[in-house]
Amino acid sequence: MSHKKDIAKILITGPFNAGKTTLIKFISDEQTSGKDVQATDALAQYKSMTTVGLDFGILHVDDELDVHLFGTPGQARFNFMWKILSKGALGTVFLVDSSSQRAIDEGKLMLEFYRDLSDMPIIIGATKRDLPDARELGDLACELNIGDTVIIPCDPREKDDSKMLVLALLQEIIAQSMDFDDDLDL
C-alpha cells in the first residue's frame, strides 16, 4: 500500500559562483542539476559554467519524509524564483563568494529583497575563503549588512562543511520554534 510522504523544502541560494550546485550534490540522494552551461553575458569573465534553471535534489529522511532542496539561480534577476519557491519552505542557505566584490554587492541586494519578502530563517555561508582576495568574515558581514543573521565560514567542496551549513540552518529553525529553559547553572 503506497502512501503520500511528507515533503519539507529547503532553498539554497546566493549570487553566482558561490558553491550552490556543489552543496546540493552532497546533501541529496537524488539530484538533477539545472544545466551547467557556458556563461555568455558579463558573467563569463568570472565563471565559465553557470547553472541555468534550478538545481533540484531529494534527500530521503525516512519512510514518511523527504526533503526537497532547490538551488535557485544565482543572479538577482532570478529573485522571482526564490519568491515562488519560498512558499512553505523551512529556510534558506545563502551562499556568497567572499572573494568577489561583484558577488558581495549582488548578495547584499538579494538579502535585502529576501528580508522584505519573508521572515523565513536564513543562514549565510561565506565561501572561497581560501582565495587570495577573500574578505575577512567581519568585513563581509558588514558589506552584506547581515544584521543578526548567522554567518559561517565554509568551503562547500568539503562534504562536512556542506553538511554543517544545512545543520546550522536546521538548528536555527529548531531554536526559533522552541522555548529554552535556562537551567545552565555552573
Binding site: 511528507d6 519539507a8 552532497f26 546533501i27 534527500l59 530521503h60 529522511v61 525516512d62 519512510d63 514518511e64 519524509l65 526533503v67 523551512l90 575577512e136 568574515l137 567581519g138 568585513d139 558581514a141 547581515i146 543578526d148 548567522v150 554567518i151 559561517i152 565560514p153 562534504k159 562536512d160 553538511k163 554543517m164 544545512v166 545543520l167 546550522a168 536546521l170 538548528q171 529553525i173 529548531i174 531554536a175 520554534s177 522552541m178 529554552f180 529553559d181 535556562d182 537551567d183 545552565l184 547553572d185 555552573l186
Partner: protein, 207 residues
C-alpha cells in the same frame, strides 16, 4: 542589599553574570574579591554601562577569585554610554590569563554542564583571538550528537590550549550563546516543525 551571596573561592560569579547579561532590567553587578578588592559593573538591559572602571572591574571579576557577588536593581536616570556586551567581553578575555589552578577549577565547573546547543552570532570574531576555537566549538556542537562542554575539554592538557577553550566557553556561557539542548522526541507521527526538522537534522548528520 546583596543577593545571591556565594562564599567559596570559585567562578560561581559566572552564573550570575550570565543571568544579569540576559535580563531586561537595570542594576549593578557587584562582587568582593578574595584578595580584598571589590568591584561593580552597572548593566542596563544586557548592555554594560560605561562608567568608572566598568571594563576593569569586569576583567577583575573574571580573572580573580570572587568571594561573593550579587545584583542590586537600580534606576538609571542620567544619560550614559553603553557598551555592547559581546565586544566588551571579547576585549576583556583577550587580556586575561588564568593560572593552572584556575583552569582546572573552571574546567571542573564546565564539565558538569549537560548537552549544549551553541549559537553562531559571533560576527566580531576578527577581534577575538580565540575566534577559530569558537568555530571549532560551534562545528562540533552541530556535528556531534550528545555534545557537552566536557567533550570540548576532554584530553586537553596543554595549558595554553586549555585556557583558549575555557575562554571560548566563558564567553559563550556569559553571553547566553550556549544553552541546554532541548530534547525533541523524534517521532514520524509528530508533525510539529521541531519534530520534522529534528528528523531531517539526524539524517543530514548521518550523510
Amino acid at each position: 542589599m546583596v543577593e545571591n551571596i556565594q562564599a567559596d573561592l570559585n567562578f560561581k560569579q559566572l552564573s550570575l553574570l550570565r543571568k544579569v547579561l540576559q535580563q531586561k532590567s537595570t542594576g549593578m553587578f557587584l562582587f568582593d574579591l578574595a584578595s580584598g578588592g571589590k568591584g561593580t559593573v552597572k548593566i542596563n538591559k544586557g548592555n554594560i554601562i560605561d562608567d568608572d572602571g566598568a571594563v576593569e572591574h569586569l576583567s577583575d571579576s573574571l580573572s580573580e577569585a570572587v568571594l561573593r557577588c550579587g545584583w542590586v536593581p537600580l534606576k538609571v536616570t542620567h544619560n550614559h554610554r553603553e557598551l555592547d556586551p559581546q565586544g566588551t567581553m571579547i576585549r576583556v578575555l583577550n587580556h586575561i590569563h588564568w593560572s593552572d589552578a584556575d583552569c582546572v577549577r573552571l574546567k571542573l565547573l564546565f564539565m558538569k554542564l549537560p548537552c549544549i546547543q551553541v549559537s553562531m552570532v559571533l560576527r566580531d570574531m576578527k577581534g577575538f583571538k580565540e575566534g577559530l576555537t569558537y568555530l571549532i566549538l560551534y562545528k562540533r556542537s552541530i556535528n556531534e550528537s550528545d555534545f557537552t562542554p566536557a567533550c570540548f575539554l576532554k584530553g586537553i592538557d596543554d595549558h595554553d590550549m586549555l585556557e583558549r577553550r575555557l575562554k571560548v566557553l566563558v564567553l559563550a556561557y556569559c553571553l547566553g550563546l550556549i544553552k541546554a539542548k532541548p530534547q525533541v522526541a523524534i517521532n514520524p507521527n509528530n508533525k510539529s516543525v521541531s519534530s520534522i526538522v529534528s528528523r531531517i537534522f539526524q539524517r543530514v548528520r548521518g550523510i
